[in-house]
């Protein structure tokens, strides 16, 4: 009897495992199907979400209806919380469980997956010529800019593995300051040189001895270096140096393979220490998060920051807090700060593109009809019609359909007399967020739309920040001797990619450690022994190898791009 029970338990356990295995093998991966005499194509799409609410999905959702009718495309979503996107997507590729389409990646990830064979390239004919499938996507840029985008976004094999999105902002970062305090202290304009910035900070400190003068809006929590990018640019080091490492000087044309061990970087660290020793910079610069910064604003504990031009209204609101009558005004400055006024001034020109467009997993090109169908859909997203739909949804054709201020049948927007779109009452309007996002209808939730792809509809973009960033760009452009760092194409092969990644992790960790030590005074950039120790420590974790890779890749990519441009010109001449 005793053995009988054991056998029964063992048999039951084995049966459960077998049944589980069998049932798990039955999941069909439907790629195309026939319906009413038409062929439809089905895809899994991986994208990140910002919240854990329910999204409209399935064939009844408006978005699904539109793309099914227009492009014979049916999308199944794998929505991943943003913070987990990288881990989960890497895992899905590693276990062969990946979606057909991945959106939301960063360029290094896409290039890494491409070299590992997880992605299929975008067929060159899809974006070459005037009548290609992706002609509207291509037309987001001028022909010259598009060629630059291609040279930057292509992988080492010269293939493009994802569709970049247009970066609508040309410039958005600048120095912002408490104009009311500047006015009160008789400071007529925002400083232009690093010495003037120091003098202005000292003047403010004298008036407000217990206060922090320069702080940071939580950027240091992503990487310590991100909190000091305003200072970087003063010393002619690019704002994006924490990710890009190398750059080409816009005046001399010299290539710098690793900026943060240069003499200019040393001068920058000395200056930051000088500001810190004088009590002018937030001691918590690298650890303060957005909540902490809000608290600084509410307590008049920050007068200068390097931030986004469109944040000044929010800063003013937070500084006022519950006291609407409080005298305060944040303003942005068209002056950037430089340590080398005789050479010129650096501002951050935003890249031509962002990199969270779609990439297509390996195997999708086995059925080119299916591949072309999805490319056609993405191309439509770049058209005026597609942008309008993705940004505003569906318009009511008949004004009668808006009754008692409420749009019937889920129509989300209307056109005003000037032909500009506006959300109907009850829909969340990002450009005018007077209403509660949690209670209003959202396009993503009601329609299951993917949000803006490639470009936000221009009227919406202008209403949110477009006019502000345009004004900033115009102001920078009007300044004499103002320069920006252009992006440089870097195409790593598989071995270089791996070595670059390994070295970058080690170098970043050491770099970030020293940024904090220079700031705290634990090591002093004025002291030769300390500085040499920093260089020595960086060399120990592979700085020279890193410089070699960066230089090799830069030279090779530059030659490849020049060749491509020459070939293109020759082809144009032949036509």
């Amino acid at each position: 009897m005793k053995f009988g029970v054991k056998k029964i338990v063992a048999l039951a356990a084995a049966s459960v495992l077998t049944v589980s295995c069998l049932t798990s093998c039955g999941e069909a991966n439907r790629q195309s199907f026939e319906e009413d005499g038409q062929t439809y194509y089905s895809y899994w799409l991986n994208m990140y979400t910002q919240d854990s609410r329910g999204y409209a999905e399935g064939e009844d959702a408006n978005f699904a209806k539109v793309i099914k009718n227009k492009f014979n495309v049916v999308l199944n979503y794998d929505r991943i919380p943003r913070g987990d996107w990288e881990t989960k997507t890497n895992l899905s590729y590693a276990v062969g469980n990946e979606a057909d389409i991945t959106t939301g990646g960063k360029e290094p990830q896409y290039k890494k997956w491409a070299t590992e064979g997880y992605l299929d390239p975008i067929p060159e004919e899809a974006y070459t010529g005037d009548d290609c499938i992706l002609k509207d996507w291509k037309a987001l840029w001028s022909e010259e800019d598009f060629q630059k985008v291609l040279s930057l976004a292509k992988s080492s094999d010269g293939q493009l593995y994802y569709l970049p999105t247009l970066r609508q902002e040309k410039a958005q970062m600048c120095w912002v300051y408490r104009k009311d305090v500047f006015d009160k202290l008789g400071i007529k304009e925002f400083p232009k040189t690093i010495d003037e910035l120091y003098d202005v900070c000292v003047k403010i400190k004298a008036a407000y001895p217990d206060k922090v003068i320069i702080s940071c809006n939580g950027m240091g929590t992503t990487s310590p270096g991100s909190a000091i990018t305003g200072f970087c640019q003063a010393y002619w080091i690019p704002e994006l140096i924490m990710q890009q490492h190398s750059f080409v000087d816009p005046v001399t044309g010299e290539y710098e393979p690793y900026a943060l061990t240069s003499d200019r970087a040393r001068e920058m660290y000395k200056t930051i220490k000088k500001f810190n020793d004088a009590g002018l910079i937030d001691k918590q610069l690298f650890s303060i998060d957005k909540d902490g910064f809000s608290s600084r604003l509410a307590n008049d504990n920050c007068f200068i920051a390097y931030d986004y031009v469109y944040n000044i209204e929010d800063f003013t609101k937070k500084t006022k807090g519950t006291n609407a009558d409080k005298d305060c005004e944040w303003a942005w400055s068209a002056n950037m700060v430089t340590a080398y006024p005789e050479k010129g001034t650096i501002y951050k020109r935003d890249p031509l593109y962002s990199n969270w467009g779609p990439a297509f997993s390996d195997g999708i090109d086995e059925d080119m009809d299916r591949y072309n169908a999805i490319l056609t859909m993405f191309n439509w997203f770049a058209t005026e019609e597609g942008q309008l739909y993705n940004t505003y949804g569906v318009k009511a054709d008949d004004p009668e359909e808006i009754k008692d201020g409420v749009a019937e049948d889920n129509y989300s927007y209307y056109m005003d007399e000037d032909g500009n779109p506006h959300f109907n009452p009850g829909w969340y309007d990002e450009s005018n967020p007077k209403t509660d996002k949690k209670e209003d209808k959202l396009l993503t939730l009601e329609y299951g739309s993917m949000g803006s792809q490639f470009k936000k509809q221009q009227y919406m973009f202008d209403s949110i920040r477009g006019k502000k960033v345009e004004a900033l760009f115009d102001a920078f452009s009007a300044q004499p001797n103002y320069y920006y760092f252009d992006q440089i194409p870097m195409r790593y092969d598989e071995d270089e990619e791996q070595e670059f990644t390994d070295l970058e992790v080690a170098l970043n960790a050491k770099r970030d450690e020293y940024i904090q030590r220079f700031f705290s005074g634990d090591v002093d950039a004025n002291n030769d022994a300390n500085w040499n120790q920093y260089i020595s420590d960086m060399n120990k974790v592979g700085l020279q190898d890193f410089i070699n890779i960066q230089t090799t890749v830069y030279e090779r990519t530059k030659a490849a791009v020049e060749q491509e441009e020459a070939a293109l010109k020759a082809a144009e001449a032949a036509e």
């Binding site: 005793k2 029970v5 495992l17 589980s20 295995c21 049932t23 798990s24 979400t49 910002q50 919240d51 854990s52 609410r53 329910g54 999204y55 979503y77 794998d78 929505r79 991943i80 919380p81 943003r82 913070g83 987990d84 881990t87 989960k88 895992l91 590693a94 276990v95 469980n97 960063k106 970066r167 902002e169 958005q172 809006n217 939580g218 950027m219 929590t221 992503t222 991100s226 998060d289 957005k290 909540d291 608290s295 604003l297 509410a298 307590n299 986004y308 937070k318 807090g321 519950t322 935003d350 962002s354 969270w356 990002e430 996002k437 949000g451 803006s452 936000k456 973009f461 949110i464 920040r465």
Partner: protein, 303 residues
């Protein structure tokens, strides 16, 4: 016990009391602070006015239940709270069942259990070497457990450490009790269920608490094995992680030039959710403490 009234003894008592009071403050203050922020207005928090007790927008003492109202009327937090409770109860029960039924034979003599040494070595091996994330994921996938509650429960059903604790406790139960039961006609299952388990309440409570706390705090397996299609199964800790990460994600999104994509919750909402997550464990601990002290001493003293 004779009370020592010497000066040195009194001084020592004072030092000990002061130390313990300080320790209590260090432990209690974060909890009180979380509660206070959750009951304060966001403006008061942003202005840095919340130090110990809840503060209203005007800066005076006052309670603001808005965050709790938002949580209770919303769907996400109540649902994830329920999932965490279900997961914790199920996991604790299943893990205790698996652990005790494995620990008991391993605690007995080698003569009664075939391959005793080999099985023990294999089990201890897993304490030091694991298969890694990808092989485990593949097993979970092949067993059809993805997007089910079982993907969080079954792969971690037995903790080797807890198994060793449980085995040590079972070893301390006199074998004579089993021999007497055998003579009276009891079989292995009867002995295990009616003699060993009732004598092991302290160990069961302790190991049960270890398992319960583990599952209550678990978010990583939910992140790996659950997708958006099973979002109703998200446990509370996973939701909290997302809320806590909002600030960093908002900074990253802004740095990438995205347009208002990350919605950041108010501080009071974040802290209210945090407080709700620690509340159940705060309530459970006092009731288990009497077993816990005895249970963690298992195997520490022999003889």
């Amino acid at each position: 016990m004779v009370k020592d009234n010497s000066v040195s003894s009194v001084v020592l008592d004072i030092v000990i009391y002061v130390f313990l009071i300080l320790l209590m403050i260090v432990i209690l203050y974060p909890i009180i602070y979380i509660l206070s922020v959750s009951l304060s207005s966001s403006d008061a928090f942003n202005a840095g006015k919340v130090v110990l007790w809840p503060v209203t927008g005007s800066g005076s003492f006052g309670l603001d239940f808005e965050a709790y109202k938002e949580i209770i009327t919303g769907r996400t937090v109540p649902m994830s709270f329920l999932q965490s409770v279900i997961n914790t109860l199920l996991y604790t029960a299943i893990s205790l069942a698996f652990t005790t039924t494995l620990a008991y034979p391993l605690s007995r003599s080698k003569d009664r259990v075939p391959f005793h040494g080999f099985i023990t070595k294999i089990i201890v091996f897993t304490m030091f070497f694991t298969a890694g994330m990808i092989p485990v994921y593949l097993i979970v996938q092949k067993l059809g457990l993805l997007n089910t509650r079982w993907s969080m429960i079954l792969p971690a059903a037995i903790s080797t450490y807890n198994l060793v604790v449980m085995r040590s406790f079972f070893e301390s139960v006199p074998v004579e009790l089993e021999e007497a039961a055998f003579i009276d006609g009891a079989n292995e299952l009867t002995i295990f269920a009616k003699i060993i388990l009732p004598l092991s309440k302290a160990a069961l409570a302790t190991v049960g608490l270890f398992y319960g706390v583990y599952m209550w705090n678990q978010w990583f397996s939910a992140m790996l094995y659950l997708s958006d299609r099973a979002k109703d199964l998200y446990p509370l800790q996973y939701i909290i992680r997302q809320i806590v990460m909002e600030n960093q994600l908002a900074a990253e999104a802004a740095a990438a030039g995205e347009l208002n994509t990350v919605q950041v919750s108010t501080a009071s909402l974040k802290y209210a959710t945090l407080f709700i997550s620690i509340l159940p464990m705060l309530c459970v601990y006092p009731f288990i403490q009497k077993y816990f002290v005895k249970g963690v001493m298992v195997g520490s003293v022999k003889g």
